[in-house]
Symmetry: C2
């Protein structure tokens, strides 16, 4: 067995990694006049091949194209991240911009090898190259500042109301241990909003080179992919896992468990991000014909505007839930369906259990910041939990003119 | 050739039909204290087999189950329509309620044969049978009141900001003519909102019994189905076409053209319905590999929250449009894609055409109440136009607590 303990340090917690955030003038100054952080770097003392997961969007942003053409399969020790500009739909010029920026970077810092770029922000504008290159002057790899990881996590935010990071120490029974740290960006209502999700994970665990990609995909299934419809991703979505093996320790079960915890925490943080949502709802579908049908129904619920607005209004309108499941195309019937808000059953295999008392209890469940809606289709063994949020006025405030 | 002329009278325009609306106390009284209309009937002097299109939702409401079990294939001369209660997810009791109500109806009015019921409103509550039955006392089939059709169209509204009806006379070259009339309910953002869509069409054209269903389906494809994702329908969606043949006249091309106009008008009325939206946008996708890919991309655009909020904010954020197309899974690439707001091209086969002047012109297009966004994928001949609207504060106002 093993033990998992939360620790401080974010992506800088595992030995051998150092991330920091600086200001390149891409974001407007803060209300107090101070420059906002908008460029981050993640430096690894060792060169290594990162494990990756990229967007399935047909239009992949220039930094992803650059990675696939020039970096994939090579060892790297650096990621440069900018916000406010996604460098997407920018064609060959967009890729050339990445090359130019990264060649300035390696000229200035010759120890950087095969650097990777990662971008998030508005689609369809060319990168402000000069500003980003000028910001390299503020990079300080020797400061080893204790707060550097929080600055990095802050710098990669776009519409995020809060920064998202976490670090865990995994202690095996024999006393050996390793660390995993991570930071991410992505604000509530990822889907179908297509807001970019970026995630950077570091670890000193000795992850076998031929297993990292598979483990990353497995853990994404119940975390990042549980907040996004299959294939419905932004042009820039990326997950990077950097493993330098410095601890000399590895245990697959323990590593997977910790990685799942990390990705689940970051994914639900994205859903609950205050800028767009006030509630985090776990939509659990069980008893589906198979897992793919459970995924289909659960994701349909997270994407239903009527369900989202009912959650915002704290209205236990279970009819909208039933109708959404019925419209999702999965096998279901009234006689075997059960719907519950936490433990309050409102529809039980053909019977409406929605008297005044039960309605009040269901409404009380919905007043919580976080709760579960369970739909048992009563047909098979398929099970999936998708995470969604409500849709309120703030979402429109933010998105009616995101570019400004 | 033929001529199509708008006329008055709604569903009552064709000879032999009479619809009216009454109050059963299902809706709260109007602000001025007068009772609101909430029950409508459509009476046909001739018994006939209606042509129908029903929801593909797995949970079909009790009135639809009742129709399929007891009426389908038989001749009928009556539809009873109620609002505020969908009689959906109500199981056997829901169907029994329909039987009880309709048997009271035929007892009171013995000339009514095989009556049909149609409901819209909240899902998961049993019908207020007594109120509906009591309203029969106000039915007056002999009044032949000129405004009866507007009362019927008013009575079937739920969250609709305005009632939706239309009537056309089709005059053939030989001087013969026939009429089509229609009324509908359904408020903006039908999809993915799952608000119920009901539509009742009457005609005195001599529509061949074996062709009506096919023609209805064909015309729905570019109208009602162009405002809704395939298969993603509410529990109650229904379209009825009653043709009594009294004019003795029929011409398929002319009939289809007029029916298309009627269904297109009612469908776009639903999208533009002021309660939830301020703009009507035609999303035209052309140059897709085939029609199914064009449909897929066009509907993805109508359903993207980020696109909807950008439209509300009159922000020509074409990057969100590109990203949504890329996420929809259709074949596409930057080098062949063109995006235009009306005639203002903002992205042209790999080139961003979004200087200050063009951005201002695109923004001016979006200030209109109605405009077109064209995406030419530049790959094949697939073409489809889907109709969508913006997402603003009013939508949340209405839907955060629709049941109240």
């Amino acid at each position: 067995m093993f033990e998992i303990i939360p620790i401080k340090g974010g992506v800088n917690a595992p030995q051998g990694f150092y991330a920091d955030g600086v200001s390149a003038g891409l974001k407007p100054p803060l209300p107090n006049g101070a420059p906002a952080l908008d460029v981050a770097f993640l430096y690894s003392e060792d060169v290594l091949k990162p494990f990756t997961l990229f967007t399935s969007n047909r239009f992949q942003a220039a930094p992803i194209t650059h990675f696939k053409h020039f970096i994939k399969g090579k060892e790297s020790n650096f990621v440069l991240i900018n916000t406010k500009n996604a460098n997407a739909m920018t064609g060959e010029r967009g890729v050339q911009d990445v090359c130019d920026i990264l060649s300035s970077l390696t000229q200035k810092f010759p120890f950087i090898q095969n650097p990777i770029m990662s971008s998030t922000g508005v689609i369809g504008q060319y990168l402000p190259k000069e500003k980003i290159i000028a910001s390299f002057a503020s990079f300080d790899f020797n400061a080893k500042c204790e707060n550097a990881h929080t600055r990095a996590a802050d710098a990669i935010r776009t519409t995020d109301a809060f920064s998202k990071e976490i670090a865990l120490r995994v202690r095996l029974d024999n006393g050996e241990s390793f660390c995993i740290g991570a930071m991410a960006k992505g604000a509530g209502m990822i889907q179908p909003a297509l807001a970019t999700m970026l995630c950077f994970i570091t670890t000193d665990a000795l992850v076998p080179q031929n297993e990292g990609d598979r483990i990353l995909r497995e853990c994404a299934k119940t975390s990042f992919n549980a907040i996004s419809v299959d294939g419905d991703m932004s042009t820039n979505d990326s997950v990077f896992l950097f493993a330098n093996g410095r601890s000399g320790v590895y245990n697959e079960a323990a590593f997977k468990e910790a990685l799942k915890m990390i990705m689940h925490k970051l994914a639900t943080d994205m859903v609950r991000d205050g800028e767009g949502s006030t509630k985090l709802v776990a939509f659990e579908v069980c008893g589906a014909r198979d897992e793919s049908q459970a995924i289909c129904a659960a994701k349909a619920l997270t994407n239903s505007l009527l369900v989202k607005t009912a959650i915002y209004g704290e209205d236990p309108n279970w009819g909208r839930i039933a109708s959404t499941i019925g419209a999702s195309g999965v096998e279901c019937n009234e006689e075997s369906l059960r719907i519950a808000f936490d433990s309050v059953v409102v529809f039980d295999r053909g019977q409406i259990c929605f008297d005044e008392e039960n309605e009040a209890r269901a409404a009380a469940v919905m007043e919580q910041e976080s709760f579960r809606i369970t739909c048992d289709l009563g047909i098979g063994e398929g099970h999936f939990v998708a995470y969604g949020c409500d849709l309120g006025y703030r979402y429109i405030d933010i998105n009616a003119d995101y570019r400004s």
